[in-house]
Amino acid sequence: MNIFDELAEIYFEADNKYTAIESLARAKGHFKKEAKYKRKKELNDQAYFLFMFTRLEDRLKKLSNKLIVDKYTKLTNWNYKKTWDILYKRKKNIPLLDRVALLTKIGQADYNLIVKYYKQRNKIGHGQSFTITIDIAIVVTDMKRLYYDLKL
């Protein structure tokens, strides 16, 4: 079992448990308790989303670094090499979306998908909430696909 499936299994255990309590609280008219468990579910979503995104982030960093080192060391024509020389010098400080643009075409489906998730990652990272509907089952599928499909 890969890390995404392992995380998904633990996530759904907790999510099902919280949902059952949320539903029971609603049935009994305990609206404060219902809201409390709804909030717990939201935080659970955020935690697992963040954990999964960091796995993808790590993969993107490794792949883009490999690409930069390959180009820096193998290219000989200065017209092509000059951009890679700059990237090589800055390789520790390249923003994530620039790394994504080295691996996927800007504006195309995979790039746009990573941008959408990255925006949500930043919101969560700064203590805010998701600003679009995040469905962990879909996140697991997307993260797994991106993680294994993105190649040099």
Partner: protein, 262 residues
């Protein structure tokens, strides 16, 4: 929607509100049946300008959007999905926003000469589009509850009641300064006991046109509208853990679902 053709490569609009522009996608329309590969090296420039009471531009901001791509004859109607948002970025703050009586937005197509039989459609999301989608979402949710009520009509021990509304304030609403709103929840009762609850989760989601969570003490399900925007809804029901094997949400599915919860 803005349409550029060989005569028109620039579009200007004015607004009282500070503009936010979301370019969704761009479609190249051509009547050519057979055409060769073509390097499509165009760009769009988006300029926002603050107009003061003397009708003068007092501050501007300019952004570029590269549309560079290779279009082959296999692309019958090339569509570039862009999803880029633009807003005024103030560099110097010399002029306060309340000194702007109007805002001017200019979108210009650069580096592309269109033939007579070609045009470029730029699909734009603006504030009124967002308002329309919120209205449509609330209607689809209300219609779903009405339909569910009809389905339960034949089974006298069940009924559906509208519950406490849930807040709605999603990213696009925030970007376009649209006020937060609420969507109705609903509960299905069996003899005054809640069996399941419908809780709208959100409208804007990746790959679908809105989601409603179905929660119960025995498990949770998800309803997803897989139809395109402003089309007749196609609600599909999924288990919480699996998005691959959804089924259309029908009377039979609903009755199966509530009977499994008893």
């Amino acid at each position: 929607m803005i349409k550029f053709d060989h005569n028109k490569l620039k579009k200007t609009t004015t607004s009282v509100d500070k503009p936010v522009l979301h370019i969704n996608k761009i479609i190249l329309i051509t009547t050519d049946k057979e055409w060769a590969s073509r390097l499509f090296g165009a760009s769009l420039s988006v300029k926002f300008a603050c107009i003061d009471k003397n009708k003068k531009e007092t501050k501007t901001s300019l952004d570029h959007l590269s549309l560079g791509t290779l279009i082959t004859p296999y692309h019958k109607q090339p569509v570039l999905e862009l999803n880029q948002q633009f807003s005024f970025v103030d560099k110097f703050n010399f002029t306060k926003d309340d000194e702007c009586t109007q805002w001017k937005t200019t979108i210009e197509l650069n580096n592309l000469s269109l033939e007579k039989n070609e045009s470029l459609e730029v699909s734009i999301i603006d504030s009124s589009h967002i308002q329309k989608r919120i209205k449509d979402w609330k209607k689809r949710v209300a219609d779903l509850y009405k339909e569910t009520k009809k389905w339960l009509g034949d089974v006298p021990q069940y009924n559906i009641k509208i519950g406490q509304p849930t807040p709605m304030y999603e990213e696009l609403m925030q970007s376009f300064n649209i006020q937060p709103t609420e969507t109705d929840t609903a509960d299905i009762f069996k003899e005054n006991k809640i069996l399941i609850s419908f809780k709208p989760k959100g409208l804007w989601m990746i790959g679908a046109n809105g989601r409603i969570d179905i929660i119960s003490q025995a498990g949770n399900y998800i309803l997803v509208d897989i139809a395109e925007q402003f089309q007749e809804p196609q609600w599909h029901i999924y288990t919480a853990t699996d998005r691959r094997t959804g089924k259309p949400f029908t009377k039979k599915e609903l009755l199966n679902l509530i009977s499994s919860f008893q």
